[in-house]
């Protein structure tokens, strides 16, 4: 496949994976926790590098899952000990991320892993980092990693759909009827960590937050069914990737930046034009007063 084709496929996979998982975070009102995890997973990546001395997919995924869960757990623990929720997110998020940045400087220039790359990513380099097995070129590594994470996410969401839905809507009721709410929470945090790491090379830690949260927030405005919010969010993520790539080429700007900006445009349109949106309200008001 062509260079452009791989970039678009990678972008779509990032958009759909982050969109699906992110919509659940928006519905659970834990979007800020996603922001935290998207940064602290860097510690997992650096940690995995120190242990294995390579930047291979699987150790990175494991490292990220571990640190992602650790982040969620520490935030929860501080919160239970009486620290405000947003303050505990702020404390854990920054300290783990800072630790990762410090460790990063020890790595030096031996591998392509630095702060700027971690923060911003570069989807244009993705097609060159190939997955070669027994001499056969199987395409970019990122595509494999993202596909695996998307598959895991879909499996988890399909298997635990009811549990996720009930525990998101009514936490206490879910406990009463025997849903393992803690397990579900950490399961979803694992999915967020995995999505983040898989998207890291492409869009980096900052823009991945946009890909996680904005499509979900947009879909939330537009749909009144739980399943539709998830699907629509994935769709918006995917579309943003395609439109973002196209506009980046037209305007000669950063691809990841354009993708994230496109999610923002989608959100703005939804915000103005959804059923209770400002524009619709304005016209409804005018119609009524005529």
């Amino acid at each position: 496949m062509s260079y452009t084709g791989w970039i678009i496929i990678t972008g779509i996979l990032v958009g759909v994976t982050c969109g699906i998982n992110g919509s659940l975070l928006v519905l659970r009102k834990t979007a800020m926790l996603a922001d935290a995890i998207s940064h602290t997973v860097l510690l997992g990546i650096v940690g995995a590098f120190f242990i294995t001395q390579t930047l291979h997919g699987i150790p990175m995924l494991i490292g990220a899952a571990v640190v992602g869960l650790l982040t969620a757990y520490l935030v929860e623990t501080l919160n239970q000990k009486g620290v405000q929720k947003d303050a505990s997110i702020g404390v854990i998020f920054t300290s783990l991320f800072a630790l990762a940045v410090v460790l990063l400087s020890f790595i030096g220039s031996q591998v392509h892993l630095d702060t700027e790359h971690a923060l911003m990513g570069e989807i244009a380099f993705v097609p060159w980092n190939r997955f070669i097995l027994h001499g056969i070129d199987l395409g970019p590594k990122a595509v494999w990693m993202l596909s695996a994470v998307l598959l895991i996410s879909l499996t988890v969401i399909i298997l635990f759909y009811k549990q996720i839905k009930i525990s998101t809507f009514d936490h206490h009721y879910a406990i009463l009827i025997g849903i393992p709410v803690g397990f579900i929470h950490y399961l979803l945090m694992t999915l967020v960590s995995l999505s983040t790491v898989a998207s890291f090379n492409s869009v980096g830690a900052i823009l991945v937050v946009a890909m996680l949260i904005v499509p979900g927030a947009t879909a939330y405005l537009l749909s009144d069914r739980f399943i539709n919010v998830i699907l629509l969010s994935g769709l918006i993520g995917g579309l943003s990737a395609i439109l973002g790539y196209w506009s980046a080429v037209q305007l000669n700007v950063s691809i990841a930046g354009a993708m994230a900006t496109t999610t923002g445009l989608f959100f703005m349109l939804a915000f103005l034009f959804h059923r209770e949106g400002l524009v619709i309200k304005y016209f409804r008001h005018r119609l009524r007063s005529q």
Binding site: L27, K29, Q163, K165, D170, H172, I175, L176, I177, N228
Partner: protein
């Protein structure tokens, strides 16, 4: 026979004791009101009893067995403000959550479950709103959806947290009707309640609570001005005093 035996419940919140020494037995088929001032720990008590929040100590027995084995007998109607009513779902879906245990963890709702959900909605006068998004419902209608969910659970002991707060007259009637029906079926109902004027009318037993039980027993004997003043620490309003005494 006692439906519920609660012994020595204590709840701490950030090292501060918010509830202590709570012990009482609830006979089967009774309607019990849990009454006390704001911050008395009424909701906390229900949540601790149902193990929705951690407690420092205490045991709960349901029909002589540990709660853990008997959770299928428990129905729960949380305070309306506790859930996100903007959540993307409709009334029927919320009621179907009440069938969750019967449907099974990984199975989908069958036609029969949907029929039952609709019957429950019908019973509280909400069948016409089955496919309505829950944010489009009024406060009273939302409360009735919660009642329908409790009905769908087909429990033996119902806990309701302030079901009467902020509802319209029709919903209030629906709740009272349902409580009486449950009682006639031998079911046990506990309700967190804060409207002193209606306590005598609605409940045959009362637990007066202010961080610890002040008095518990049959409404006629327990619901006296004296006990209320002890519970509310003299903070009972003139108006409430007048209505209770008449």
């Amino acid at each position: 026979m006692n439906a519920l035996e609660i012994t020595n419940i204590k709840v701490n919140y950030h090292k501060q004791t918010v509830l202590k020494n709570v012990s009482f037995n609830v006979p089967e088929g009774s309607l019990t009101g849990i009454v006390g001032p704001n911050g008395a720990g009424k909701s906390t008590l229900i949540k601790a009893v149902l193990e929705l929040i951690p407690k420092r100590s205490g045991t709960v027995k349901v029909y002589d067995q540990a709660l853990r084995q008997q959770k299928h007998l428990i129905g729960y109607v949380p305070q309306r403000s506790e859930v996100d009513w903007d959540f993307p779902t409709n009334a029927r879906d919320v009621v179907l959550m009440g069938r969750y245990r019967k449907i099974g963890f990984f199975k989908r709702a069958k036609k029969r479950d949907i029929e039952i959900a609709d019957q429950c909605l019908d019973k509280v006068g909400m069948l016409d709103f089955a496919t309505r998004q829950i944010s489009q419902l009024s406060g009273g209608q939302q409360q009735r959806v919660f009642l329908a969910r409790a009905l769908a659970q087909d429990a033996s002991i119902y806990f309701m947290d302030e079901p009467f707060s902020g509802v319209d007259a029709a919903t209030e009637k629906a709740i009272i009707h349902l409580m009486k029906e449950w009682k006639s079926e031998g079911k046990t109902v506990l309700v967190v309640h804060h409207d002193l004027q209606t306590v005598e009318e609605y409940f045959d037993r009362v637990l007066l609570l202010n961080k610890e039980p002040i008095q518990y027993g049959e409404t006629q004997t327990v619901f006296t001005m004296d006990n209320l003043e002890r519970t509310y620490g003299g903070k009972i309003s003139f108006l409430e005093r007048a209505t209770v005494l008449t």
